[in-house]
Assembly symmetry: C2
Homo-oligomer: 339 residues x 2
């Protein structure tokens, strides 16, 4: 390490590199951006100067000059529900490989908050947007349309996308589970969920679920919902409350696996036989549903792949391709031991 290296700090600019290398700024820029037409000798001189000064390009300046940023916005409802960090992980991996940085926003399941986030993010002129869900405020929709960067709405296909959508049908997933429970002989069916006004995708699953029951002449006997995010403890308490009101239920559909495993814990603690006395079903296909003594019956959502594919489609669009407007990654029924 030379003294020059130790002295390096952020204020090193392209011009200083150029001066040290004895070339113009443009030549440095060309070397840095891999433009072909630079002689090997010049390239080497520049690279030496970059190393000696510890130069780090200023992307703000670059973005301003090119009107293209390397920033991608990802707006998710929550970081507390492991499902969304997984989407983020998939997207982030792809973006990083392509040299983009993810900027995150957390809407807390609040569409007005989401709108504010979009407005704030737009000031960074991101190259692409991933947002959760198809429901947004009118102004949020308008901003995303006018942003003129690719937009992918993820985790839902039940509705009309602004630009592109990658996900699966939540209504379809609910429907499949409803059909399954009825087909396996359950008739006195209840529901345990969190806040359906905020978690719109859980609400769509429940709608599909009820529709499937209805089509088979079965009605939902009772439901527990709470004005709180879904969680293991809420599921546990929720099932206890629901059973207090409807002790004769023979199956309970839960808004997701957290709730369902919580419900299962109530059964264990209360000595309720699963699935003998009560069937339990969830949604998401989280690891926790596999690790419990009885594997949870659930439906796996391809969260990580959705994140990846959403990023991929944005990158493809930037590259001039024309990815599909809606991309259905499906879901997978998991026949566990709880129903």
């Amino acid at each position: 390490m030379t003294i020059d290296e130790q002295d390096s700090n952020n204020s090193v600019t392209l011009s200083e590199v150029a001066r040290l290398a004895g070339v113009s700024g443009m030549t440095v820029s060309r070397v840095l951006n891999g433009h072909a037409s630079v002689s090997a000798a010049t390239r080497a001189k520049v690279q030496a100067a970059v190393a000696a000064l510890g130069y780090v390009p200023n992307r703000l300046a670059g973005a301003l000059a090119t009107a293209r940023t390397q920033l991608m916005v990802v707006i998710i409802p929550s970081l507390g529900n492991i499902v969304f960090p997984e989407v983020l992980r998939g997207a982030n991996e792809r973006f990083e490989l392509a040299g983009y940085q993810a900027v995150i926003g957390v809407s807390d399941y609040d569409l007005d908050r989401e709108e504010q986030l979009i407005a704030a993010m737009q000031s960074w002129r991101p190259s692409g947007w991933i947002v959760a869900g198809l429901e947004h405020t009118p102004r949020a929709r308008q901003m995303l349309r006018e942003a003129r960067s690719p937009v992918v709405e993820v985790m839902d296909l039940d509705g009309e996308p602004i630009d592109m959508a990658v996900g699966f049908s939540n209504a379809g997933a609910g429907r499949e589970m409803g059909a399954y429970l009825v087909a396996s002989g359950r008739r006195r069916i209840g529901y345990v969920g969190g806040n359906l006004e905020r978690d719109l995708r859980a609400a769509k699953r429940l709608q599909g679920f009820e529709l499937a029951l209805q089509e088979r002449g079965v009605a939902l006997q009772g439901r527990f919902t709470a004005n709180a995010p879904s969680s293991l403890l809420l599921g546990r308490a929720g099932l206890a409350q629901l059973l207090a009101r409807h002790p004769d239920l023979d199956a309970v559909y839960c808004s997701n696996d957290d709730m369902a495993v919580g419900a299962m814990m109530h059964c264990m603690a209360a000595g309720i036989a699963v699935p003998g006395q009560l069937a339990l079903a969830g949604f998401n296909g989280l690891e926790i549903g596999e690790a419990v003594p009885q594997r949870l019956t659930t439906i796996r959502s391809p969260r990580y792949r959705i994140g990846q594919q959403a990023a991929e489609n944005i990158l493809a669009r930037i590259g001039g391709a024309r990815p599909p407007r809606r991309e259905d990654l499906g879901f997978e029924f998991i026949a566990g031991q709880t129903g």
Copy 2:
């Protein structure tokens, strides 16, 4: 909605707003940034023009001109382990309130990867850095020092911070659990964990744990570690394997709650009495440890608060304050029903 509004798009610049308002660009800038010396009448004209054009300031240009960005970098080892999204959530909330955007990087527990991320992030000239842990490559350390923005290392205090640290002592947490298990009469103690070469904080907990045993004349009887991230299923399989080799263990310390709950699931499935035959202890104080039929004995780490406080200290430093170099947020022993 006027036609102007519908026509708005990103290319609206400050000059266009100025032209429409019949003032200079500087006046628009002053109104936007809340500088006092603008007459009410002018202010109103400008605000009307901003609204009519749907103007969104370009922060890239602003940042370039002021040499100050509203970007904050958060680098965490993983998005798959809920612990780090929680840190991120705490930090993100504080940053957003102060008008900053979080840019995330995921190192996948790899210090070389972390170094690359830091180099890439530096090109955005962030106003602050949150990075997990105190261990970094020499070059990563150097870059962070030279970045000349506040740096907070989180989740660990066992070492020397680059700039500031907010967290707790992992060694101390391990030590406390070791002391507890011995004090409660356990003598044939084992360990189940993930990859200790990558999860350096889990390694420090184990060190503290073993030290506590040693001080009390007890030796670790056996350990299971795997070259994989910790998870429920790994904990379940790991305990099974460990007990196959050491069937007479009377307590097992797990690298974290995921592993411990997984271990508990093995006990349930295999009919091992907890804590009668075997005590189980974890780390983190996740909700899952509360939701299981027997509450897990563990130690709660203040992850969310660490994220908040780290962000707070960065903001304080930017505001001219001098937050402490190391801030110990402690941990909380949770006497559950498993040991």
